[in-house]
Amino acid sequence: MLSKLNQILVFVFLACSSIAVADLRQAEALMVKKDYMNAAPIFYQAYSLARTQMERSRAELGLARTLEAAGLEYSASKYFSLIARRGPGPGNPFFAESLDALGRINDRVSLGRSHVVQLFQKEVDPSQVPGKARGFYFYFKGIEAFDRKQYDKAQEFLTRVTAGSIDYPKAQFHLGVIANLNGDSARAVSAFERAISEAKGPESSFLKEQANLNLARVYYEKKDFRKSMRYYAEIPRRSDNWLQAMFESSWAFFLIQKFNNTLGNIHTLHSPFFENRFFPETYILQSITFLRLCRFTQVKKSLSEFRERYKGIFRSLSQTINENQQEPAKFYSLVKNYRVGGRDGGDIAPILDSLSRTDTYRDASYTIAAADSETSKLSRAPSSWRSTGLIDELNDFLSKKKFAAANDSGKRMLNNARNSYSYLQDLSNQTRFINLDMQLGKIDKLRGELNVTQSNDRTVNFIGGLQELEVGQDLEYWPFEGEYWEDELGGYVYNLDSKCGASGSAKSK
């Protein structure tokens, strides 16, 4: 009886195996004819019926290739990833090709950090990584270590991303950040500059802006405010980073006693065009700038405007964080509905706006949009995709990918939101200290604490737009008379003298 059963099992195994092999041959023949839409379900059938690892690998690779050729990049990445995750070795001859393909797909549609991290969980000998995939491999290993704050390890991986790889500018950018964290500003500067010079094409503009911002910060830390300003001025007005550059350069102006420029920048940041942008610190900077000019009425006004603008946020933000703590994907949706759904963010609109401009939101949105586009393509696939079960498997994969992207992004954004809450609390405490010290007549002490740099940069004058005033330059002046003009944003310069009197600080330029 038992031997009969064995015989049946062997027969079924051989039958399935021969069907799988036949399917593979048929699918490969269709692929040669570039009939990808009909080849894919047959590969999938071979993949489901495969009885040996080699058959399965061949089917996986064929399926992945046909899906990629059919423009279903994420779907293809699922099967390439299955092969790549098994790691290199004699039993996995398609490892190099799969990794290479994943690098190629990632260049076109970002796979997302969580996907790539899973890909490299198994330890791989770097010498086994194929040439074309090396940049991709080392870059993501580096990023993984960077996220875990293992900067030495991250540096080791990132330096192995060679010039010519599409990931090279990004790797250089991260190397710049690591060098700066290690206090090596010279190396940081050259890494950021390499990132800028190697980043090509319009899709690299965000990276270039980030590198310019970081160069500005490096020079700011070195108290070379003139150079710092030049890099801040490199951020174009249309960029999402522009207001950040305006804000940070306001501090640089403050530190070189260009108080009228500081106030001018803040005037831009407080314009109605940016009423939902989150720059609460500008009110503190504005108040201490007025304090430096001994304009105490305006100090009080700035502090009260801060309280007025942000008082509603505390309770609403805390409530929103608590409500979404267990469901980060829901928090992602909240941000998304604000950003693209036109939903009013209420009191926390500035926080939602700020989160919707982060890399983490941007990446997740991109992944979700690309996955949606694939789902829509799948709905038009031939009926054989449905009958073999391929469509269900791919839809399930895409839906999980979307959820993972939203969940991961939601977690990071919740963390950012918590930080924003603490930041606001900290700023709120600072307003109390400034007020208290003013009331107690400790203005001289407070002003002393705000004593700013004696840098030579003080001798340079700046016009609007973070630009140095040049001798003989033809300038145009426009008075601000209560009406904001879009083209004037970023160009404001106050015209206030210090009221500190003879014993006070130097007259503001």
Partner: protein
């Protein structure tokens, strides 16, 4: 809309429907002029004219002639020695066409009108641009402009066709022969105003209205050269010019 400086009322009238800001570009430094303004925009001038040549071409029409249309093509070369001051040399040449009214008067009532036909003009003039400003269109696009006043001297070339002189059977004197057509030049004083719209850092579109005022001898247009009328008369040509120019 917000405007400042002289000629504001004129500007306001011209700018209804668009957001506009204009400022006065006088001799005193801008920093001094805006010293009482608490918040100012200070930035490099969008369009600088100092020490630049401007070459332009205009289509000109004399707008105040009752019986003819006069069209001229104008070429001008301008040197801007400061942002506000420039010297312009211009020359125009054209032709005129009789209006239907003139033809009807002749055909129906045998009334022959005496016409001063402007054939050419040339002048040298000083340009003063006291106002520059900007418009914001509904689309958000900004257009910078300046407004200039012009004053100078030149010559106006008038063509006399003597087609108003009675000849042949209609004439009281059958042997009378009308004088041969000729052109005469008259010293001309010119004054006017206009605007340039800067469409990029080297090109502008412009319009101007200029009054060409000259004195002419009545004898020049007389049909009877043996007994010409004595004395002089004056003529004004209000010329509207539309054109474009390039800065070098």
């Amino acid at each position: 809309m917000k405007v400042s400086g002289p000629f504001v009322k004129f500007m306001v009238a011209a700018l209804v429907g668009s957001q506009c800001l204009a400022t006065y570009a006088g001799a005193e430094s801008q920093d001094d002029r805006f010293k009482d303004v608490e918040i100012r925009v200070i930035r490099p001038k969008y369009f600088t004219k100092r020490n630049r040549f401007e070459l332009g071409a205009d289509f000109s029409i004399v707008s105040n002639q009752t019986f003819i249309y006069s069209y001229l093509l104008t070429g001008n070369a301008t040197y801007h020695f400061t942002e506000a001051w420039a010297f312009e040399g211009a020359g125009s040449y054209g032709f005129s066409i009789d209006k239907a009214d003139k033809r009807d008067l002749d055909a129906k009532f045998s009334i022959k009108t005496e016409i001063l036909r402007t054939k050419y003009m040339m002048d040298g003039a000083l340009l003063w641009s006291p106002i520059y400003g900007k418009y914001q269109l509904a689309s958000g696009r900004l257009i910078y402009f300046d407004t200039f006043l012009i004053g100078g001297l030149g010559m106006s070339g008038v063509e006399y066709k003597y087609d108003n002189c009675d000849t042949g059977t209609n004439s009281n004197n059958p042997t009378y022969v009308a004088p041969s057509p000729q052109s005469k030049s008259y010293l001309t004083a010119i004054g006017g105003l206009g605007q340039r719209y800067f469409i990029n850092s080297s090109t502008s579109l412009k319009w101007s209205v200029r009054n060409h005022y000259f004195q002419y001898s009545k004898a020049d247009g007389a049909c009877d050269k043996a007994n010409p009328p004595q004395g002089t008369d004056t003529n004004q040509n209000i010329v509207i010019q539309l054109g474009a120019s390039k800065f070098f």
